[in-house]
Point group: C2
């Protein structure tokens, strides 16, 4: 049939072209670890990315080659995102908090050819160099005299930026992120130009990032964490101002947010705990802030409430590396303006609803062939599918999905009749007691509502009669002397009676994974020999 619309590939380089052309002078601010500050803009980011493309070509790096970064959030890291994809390569953001064995596995498995790293991670890089077998070139973002590798600015400074982005198919890969699974080797998620673009454009809408030209975003979420939630891509599509901080210190973040009039923030719940403590101590406020995207793990109710009282819209999000990562956001509902404040907080405390593109369902935990109803009661294994959801892990020999493209998330969830997602646990962490399921996450969320509790983790302990019973492991806030009885009394009425933990143990610290989440695996190891008093 004759007649057509234009040819236009969904390649992510369109994003930086648009940002530089239409928002060329919109700033990209970096606050470095040493307290210094640099300012660029979208035009400068694009020019530097083109230079990096030339520098990569000079090294023989091209289509499909993996270019890795080991770095915090800053403007040069942003340049690298577009430089790596601009040469037709695959950007591989490595989490510097991973353990050495994981770092070794990931870079070798990815077959990274170039690594660009922060000077702060130079000791790690030097230790790893003999173990990384494929990396040919090392570049340091912020070198000091003790570092032998070339500095990033010198490296790209030798180029003139007079070049073109590599072309290619829109289903070519553009980015690789590894998930640090709690069991087995890390697995790589290979994003495509097309999936990344659809995710980026969809993210602009009010229900997700709510970006327009006025937006000033300080992404606390690291650029190495789950594609930085797609923010470097979506931000370019809307021409927002970015404010990056290479350190996640609450004082630094608060200062930056105030000075740069930050309107949008994105980070995991623990970031806000630290921010609140700082703000309580200093009496500071964040008057410009109006949107906080919270994800990575469930946000406690008091956090959402506090932000909402300060006039901040909370986009409580659920997603994972395998979903690019935005799956759901706690967007305002149709009846929002008719709800009380408490009802509004109730809605935001759940994980929200899918945006267009994403589909969810839950299946029975015991028999995945049984699809559960969206009844607000049935709890099951959460599955997802859509254009920015994984089909196959990098180098895997089979799809990660079933025949209908459903991907099992490893989360346990309830779906409400209107599609609202309520995460209740991880499949691995849910506690089976007397043939029923107890959500470790709900127990933890209830416990952290107690003013004396800094952090809480619930795990199942083997029990001869009930199969498993929950215990609660708690880190008290400094100076607090709350007892197990205090916590138990506080929990009563907040969770079902039979969910109340059989024991409450106080510890100095709870183990975390490389991505900052509670490591239930390590905690279970720690309490392997634990015996409940009535189960001796």
């Amino acid at each position: 049939m004759l007649g057509a619309m234009q040819d236009w590939d969904l390649r992510v380089t369109h994003l930086i072209d648009h940002a530089a052309r239409e928002y060329g002078t919109r700033e990209v601010v970096t606050r470095w670890a040493d307290g210094s500050e640099t300012r660029s803009d979208w035009s400068g980011i694009r020019r530097d990315a083109l230079k990096m493309t030339q520098a990569l070509r000079r090294l023989g790096i091209g289509r499909g080659d993996r270019v890795a970064t080991l770095a915090m959030n800053h403007g040069r890291h942003l340049v690298s995102w577009y430089g790596a994809v601009g040469v037709g390569g695959v950007l591989h953001t490595i989490n510097p908090r991973l353990f050495e064995g994981q770092l070794e596995y990931i870079a070798n498995h990815a077959e990274d050819r170039v690594l660009i790293y922060d000077a702060a991670f130079a000791p790690v890089v030097e230790a790893m160099k003999p173990r990384w077998t494929t990396i040919e070139h090392y570049v340091c973002y912020d070198p000091h005299p003790g570092i032998a590798d070339i500095g990033f600015e010198d490296w790209i400074g030798a180029e003139d930026g007079e070049t073109e982005w590599a072309g290619g198919d829109e289903r070519d890969p553009c980015m690789l992120c590894y998930t640090s699974g709690t069991t087995g080797d890390p697995k790589g998620v290979l994003y495509e130009h097309r999936s990344t673009m659809l995710h980026a454009i969809t993210g602009l809408q009010p229900a997700i990032f709510d970006f327009d030209a006025r937006s000033v975003m300080l992404p606390v979420v690291p650029m190495f964490h789950a594609a930085s939630w797609g923010l470097p891509w979506s931000g370019a599509a809307a021409g927002i101002k970015f404010v990056f901080s290479a350190v996640n210190d609450a004082k630094v973040l608060c200062d930056l947010m105030q000075r740069e009039k930050v309107t949008h923030s994105a980070g995991v719940p623990t970031v806000w705990l630290a921010m609140f403590q700082h703000m309580d101590a200093t009496g500071e406020t964040l008057p410009a802030l109006r949107q906080a995207v919270i994800g990575g793990s469930a946000a406690p109710r008091f956090m959402i409430e506090r932000l909402m009282r300060a006039g901040v819209n909370v986009a409580h999000a659920w997603g994972m590396t395998e979903t690019s990562p935005v799956g759901t956001t706690g967007a305002k509902t149709a009846d929002w303006d008719d709800l009380t404040f408490d009802q509004q907080v109730d809605i935001k405390a759940l994980q929200g609803r899918v945006s267009f593109g994403v589909e969810l369902r839950t299946v029975d935990l015991g028999d995945p062939a049984i699809v559960l109803p969206r009844d607000g009661v049935s709890s099951g294994a959460l599955q997802v599918r859509g254009p920015w959801v994984i089909k196959r892990y990098f180098k895997a020999d089979r799809d990660a999905t079933d025949a209908e493209q459903w991907f099992d998330t490893g989360d346990v969830a309830i779906l409400h009749p209107d599609g609202t997602l309520q995460l209740t646990d991880r499949t691995k962490d849910v506690i089976k007691s007397g043939g029923e399921w107890i959500s470790s996450v709900e127990l933890e969320n209830a416990a952290v509502g107690h003013p004396a509790v800094a952090e809480a983790a619930a795990i199942g302990i083997a029990h001869p009669r009930w199969d498993e019973r929950p215990i609660l492991v708690i880190v008290r806030k400094p100076g607090s002397t709350a007892t197990a009885e205090d916590i138990r009394a506080f929990l009563a009425g907040k969770v079902a009676r039979w969910w109340l933990p059989d024991a409450i143990e106080f510890v100095d610290a709870i183990p975390h994974t490389g991505t900052g989440k509670i490591s239930k695996k390590d905690l279970r190891d720690q309490f392997r020999d634990y015996r409940l008093s009535d189960a001796a």
Copy 2:
């Protein structure tokens, strides 16, 4: 390279599936011409569209076949959008206001096989039936006893909706709209599933439609006008509530907006003129309204200012049938909150900036090889390209674009350094005087600011010395006795001295095209023998 994201075609049926699944009970309200009202919801729209798909298959209609509508805005029309594309066909929305010759040409050129029409247009349909050579089946949306064709509800009511959407390639066509050019035959723009989807998703962002689940949209723009600005597609992606009115009477629209708590509206400027008159006469207000998309032709400054004073965000948009149609919108700028109200109105009075995806440039009116700078001064022919911009008209034997996919819009415009578009005229209507260009549109916009002027049109009249000189043709408001001198005094200082019209003529009515715009062609015909007094 092993590893991949999921397969997911950009087919528009995903939109209605999403809306029905996630916003199934969100209403679609229709106020019919006879004053009656029907209410459906996204779930019902989808079910009816599936039934229509079955009914079409029963007629042998399938992939690529054109299914035409001749109808105002209502829920059954919305069903037909999804039903026609759902069977793999091409929805062809015909403008019932076209003249008979155009109606004949368009349906025959499109080779429409089915036509679904409003009873109000039955006389036109009966008159045209002998001239339409390809239409095999006629269905009436709202039949009365005098109509022999089957009624829409009876037609789809015979089906059970137990079927699937047709599959196909995402670059298959899904919709056909003809432009009623002022010269030559109408030309068909054939939208693809993919272009339509990218346009629909992009439209959700704050800078364009600003849609979320709370949005209640009354689209005054007809469903037969430039793909109804893509609203039936974007609205489904966000699960908004739709309120349709089959008549465009100001009282009816005001009543509906108040009663259904309409938050979003979209229409041409003349709609707001009528609304203002009604609101002034009755003292009514629209307290729920917060977003007004105005396009089709330039919105006068006083209109923007009045809406903004009422707390409504004005998305002053530019686009055309060939651009799906959203090209630019007058979104808030980065410095918005630091501007005075008057400065904000100044920005909204221009046509705004492109969204991600669209690119603009201007070229010299005399020599299109010369690309003009974005300097806020140079005025030239506006060109556009992007994923939802036309490549080739339906059945044309060559592309409508140049080798770099630039499409010439026929508009004359200035681009500002920040990319803001300022339309100054149509290429055909610009008035050449003494080797310089006078914008007929700016003259008209200045003139309609006078309280006595209901409508104004400027055209060039041949002049022996200056090539052309402008005259202004004015329709006075009822009861007004303003003179040419009054108008001229009002214009002085608002436009350049040498732009002041050589004559001002008062008429009872100004001719319009089938899409409601001023027909400069007819006006020029009317004034063909006009002689300027100093040019006799």
